[in-house]
C-alpha cells in the first residue's frame, strides 16, 4: 500500500465510528504491511521463534494466541522493530528492518499503533495528553485532532477521566487509554498485546468494535490474547485469522477456534 498519510487523515475517529459497515475491505493482494520471510528470534539462549514465514496484508485481522511465555509479545515486538530478527528477512511497509537506523524506526512507529502488555504512560501529563502523544510527537495536534480526541476518549469510557494523571487510573482504564493512544493517528497497522486482560466483557466488546471499525477502513490489526471468547466474538463479525505460537513456530490455527 505505502499510501502517504497526509494531515487530512489525522485521527478521524468520527469517520471510523460512523463509517458504513459495508465499506469494502482493502484489497488483500496489495503489498503486505508486515512480511516475515524465514525469520527466527532468540534472546541469547536457544531460539525462541524459528522459521516464521508470514505476510500481514493491509486490512487483515489477526489474533495471536499461545501459552504464557510462548513468544506472543516477542513476535509483536518484531513487528514494530523493537527487536531485530536474529535470522531471516523481515520487512515493515516493504522496508527491511535491518536497514533502518534509529530515526527510521522512529518514523516507522508513527505508522504503527502499539498497545503494550504493560501499558506505560508519561505520568506527568494528563490522560488526554497521553492519548494525544502520537499527534504531539508528529506535530499534528490541530483543532480537528482535538475534537477527534474527545470522541475517542468518550468511546473507550475515559471522557470523565481525561484530566486525571495515569497513575490515578484503574488497571482497565489504563488499558483503554493505551488502546486509544495506539489508534489516535489511525495508523496503518495496529498491534495490541492483551488489550482486554483487565477489562470486563462489555468493555472488551466495545474495544473490539473500535478495532473492527478501523480494520474495515483498511488498517491491519493484530491482537495477542489468551481470551478465547474474545476471538469467538470477533470471528462472528470479521474474517479473522488466528495464529498460534507452539513449538517455537507460528502456525495458522484451524477452524477449531
Amino acid at each position: 500500500m505505502n499510501r502517504a498519510r497526509g494531515s487530512g487523515t489525522t485521527g478521524p475517529v468520527a469517520e471510523w465510528l460512523a463509517s458504513d459497515p459495508t465499506t469494502p475491505p482493502a484489497p488483500m493482494d496489495a503489498a503486505p504491511v508486515i512480511s516475515f520471510d524465514n525469520v527466527a528470534y532468540s534472546y541469547g539462549g536457544g531460539a525462541l521463534l524459528t522459521d516464521i514465514t508470514l505476510d500481514l496484508a493491509p486490512g487483515s485481522f489477526h489474533f495471536l494466541t499461545g501459552p504464557s511465555g510462548a513468544g506472543k509479545t516477542t513476535f509483536l515486538k518484531l513487528c514494530y522493530a523493537a527487536l531485530t530478527p536474529t535470522a531471516g528477512d523481515l520487512r515493515l511497509f516493504e522496508q527491511p528492518v535491518t536497514g533502518l537506523d534509529r530515526d527510521g524506526v522512529a518514523h516507522l512507529r508513527r505508522r504503527i499503533g502499539v498497545v503494550h502488555q504493560d501499558c506505560q504512560f508519561l505520568d506527568h501529563l494528563s490522560v488526554a495528553e497521553n492519548v494525544a502523544l502520537p499527534l504531539t510527537v508528529a506535530g499534528m495536534d490541530g483543532a480537528a485532532a482535538r475534537r477527534d480526541l474527545d470522541e475517542l476518549l468518550g468511546w473507550v469510557g475515559l471522557g470523565h477521566r481525561r484530566d486525571a494523571r495515569p497513575p490515578e487510573l484503574s488497571g482497565g482504564e489504563r488499558q483503554r487509554a493505551a488502546l486509544a493512544r495506539a489508534v489516535i493517528v489511525s495508523p496503518d497497522a495496529i498491534l495490541a498485546d492483551e488489550p482486554t486482560g483487565n477489562v470486563d466483557w462489555d468493555m472488551s466488546q466495545r474495544l473490539l468494535t473500535l478495532l473492527l471499525e478501523l480494520n474495515r477502513m483498511g488498517r491491519a490489526v493484530m491482537i495477542a490474547t489468551h481470551d478465547l471468547s474474545l476471538i469467538r466474538a470477533a470471528k462472528s463479525q470479521v474474517q479473522a485469522r488466528v495464529l498460534r505460537i507452539a513449538n517455537r513456530q507460528v502456525q495458522v490455527a484451524g477452524a477449531e477456534l
Binding site: D103, A106, R109, L122, L125, L133, P134
Partner: protein, 301 residues
C-alpha cells in the same frame, strides 16, 4: 563543523511541545543549577586569583627584581671620580638601563627612618648610591663585578637576584595554580552535569520508552533534556558568578602592602572575564548533556 553548530543552535532554540513531553527532572536539574552556581562562584575567585597573581608576577619581575643598586664608599676627594667611572661602566654594560645616581634628597629620605630628617649628609662620610634597572634579557653580575673591581675599587654591587628568583617563581606558580584551578572547576562542572544528566535520563527510562514507542526521534527526546540542563547551567552559573563578583568587589583592598590575596580583584577590562564564566558553563553543560543523552538513548531499544 558549521553543521554541528547549526544543530546545537537548533537544539537550544527549543520546542515547547518536546519540553513539555519530558517530565520535570526535579532533583537532578536542581543539582545542576546548584552545581553551576557553586562552580561559577569558585571560577570567579580562581579567575581573580589568577589575574592578581599575574599582575604580581609582572610587577615583581619588572620593577622590584630588575632594580639593583651600586654603593660607592670612597674618601670625599675621590668620590666624584669613582661615581663618574661607575656610571660609565654601568652605561656600557649590556642588559643595564636607567642608570642614575641618587640625589641628596633621595638619600636623605631613605635614611630618615633611622637618623631623623635633619641628618647632616654633607658632614658625614656617607656612601653614594647608584640605582639602575635591568632589561628583560638581564645582565651578567659576575662580569660587572669584575669590571667594577678594576675601575671603581669602592663599589659594592647589591644584586637583588638572590631573592628575585623564588619570588617570581612563586607568583608564576600562583598564576599556574589559578588557571589550573579554573580548568579543574570547569572539568568538575562538566563531570557533574554529565552525571546529573545521566541520572535524569536513567530515571526517565520509561518516559523515553513511551516516546520511542509513539515515534519520537532521538533528537526530539534529547533536545528537551539538553535545553533544560543548558538553561539551568546558564542560570545557575550567572547567579554564582554574580555572587562571586560581589564577593570579590567587597574584599578589602589593602593595596600592595598586603601581598597577593588581599590584592585580589579585577582591574579595567579584566572585569569582562567573569562574564564569560556563565557562557562557558552553559556550553560545558550543553556538550556534556548531549554526550550523555546520545549515549543513553543509543543504549535503549
Amino acid at each position: 563543523m558549521t553543521g554541528g553548530v547549526a544543530r546545537i543552535l537548533r537544539a537550544v532554540r527549543g520546542d515547547a511541545a518536546s519540553d513539555r513531553v519530558v517530565p520535570p527532572t526535579g532533583f537532578t536539574v536542581r543539582l545542576t543549577l546548584f552545581t553551576a552556581a557553586a562552580m561559577a562562584f569558585l571560577a570567579v575567585f580562581a579567575l581573580a586569583l589568577s589575574l592578581a597573581a599575574g599582575r604580581l608576577a609582572d610587577r615583581w619581575g619588572d620593577e622590584l627584581a630588575r632594580g639593583a643598586t651600586l654603593r660607592i664608599s670612597a674618601p670625599a676627594d675621590q668620590m666624584d671620580r669613582q661615581v663618574g667611572a661607575a656610571l660609565r661602566v654601568l652605561e656600557t654594560t649590556p642588559g643595564v638601563t636607567d642608570v642614575r645616581a641618587l640625589s641628596e634628597a633621595e638619600q636623605r629620605e631613605l635614611l630618615a627612618p633611622w637618623f631623623g630628617p635633619d641628618l647632616p649628609l654633607d658632614r658625614l662620610p656617607i656612601p653614594q648610591l647608584i640605582a639602575f634597572s635591568e632589561t628583560a634579557e638581564g645582565y651578567d653580575p659576575d662580569g660587572l663585578r669584575l669590571r667594577l673591581q678594576a675601575e671603581v675599587p669602592g663599589a659594592v654591587l647589591d644584586d637583588h637576584r638572590r631573592w628575585r628568583r623564588p619570588l617570581v617563581a612563586a607568583a608564576t606558580g600562583l598564576r599556574i595554580l589559578g588557571w589550573s584551578a579554573l580548568a579543574l572547576i570547569f572539568g568538575a562542572l562538566a563531570a557533574m552535569v554529565t552525571l546529573a544528566a545521566n541520572a535524569a535520563l536513567a530515571a526517565n527510562a520509561q518516559v523515553i520508552a513511551v516516546l520511542r514507542l509513539v515515534g519520537a526521534t532521538d533528537d526530539y527526546i534529547a533536545g528537551a533534556f539538553v535545553r533544560r540542563f543548558t538553561l539551568r547551567a546558564l542560570c545557575g552559573a550567572a547567579a554564582g558568578a554574580a555572587i562571586g563578583l560581589a564577593a570579590v568587589a567587597l574584599m578589602p583592598d589593602t593595596g600592595d602592602a598586603a601581598g597577593v590575596l588581599t590584592g585580589i580583584g579585577f582591574r579595567g577590562w579584566h572585569w569582562l572575564w567573569p562574564l564569560a564564566v556563565p557562557a562557558l558553563a552553559a556550553l560545558t553543560a550543553l556538550l556534556a548533556t548531549r554526550a550523555a543523552a546520545r549515549r543513553v538513548l543509543g543504549s535503549l531499544a
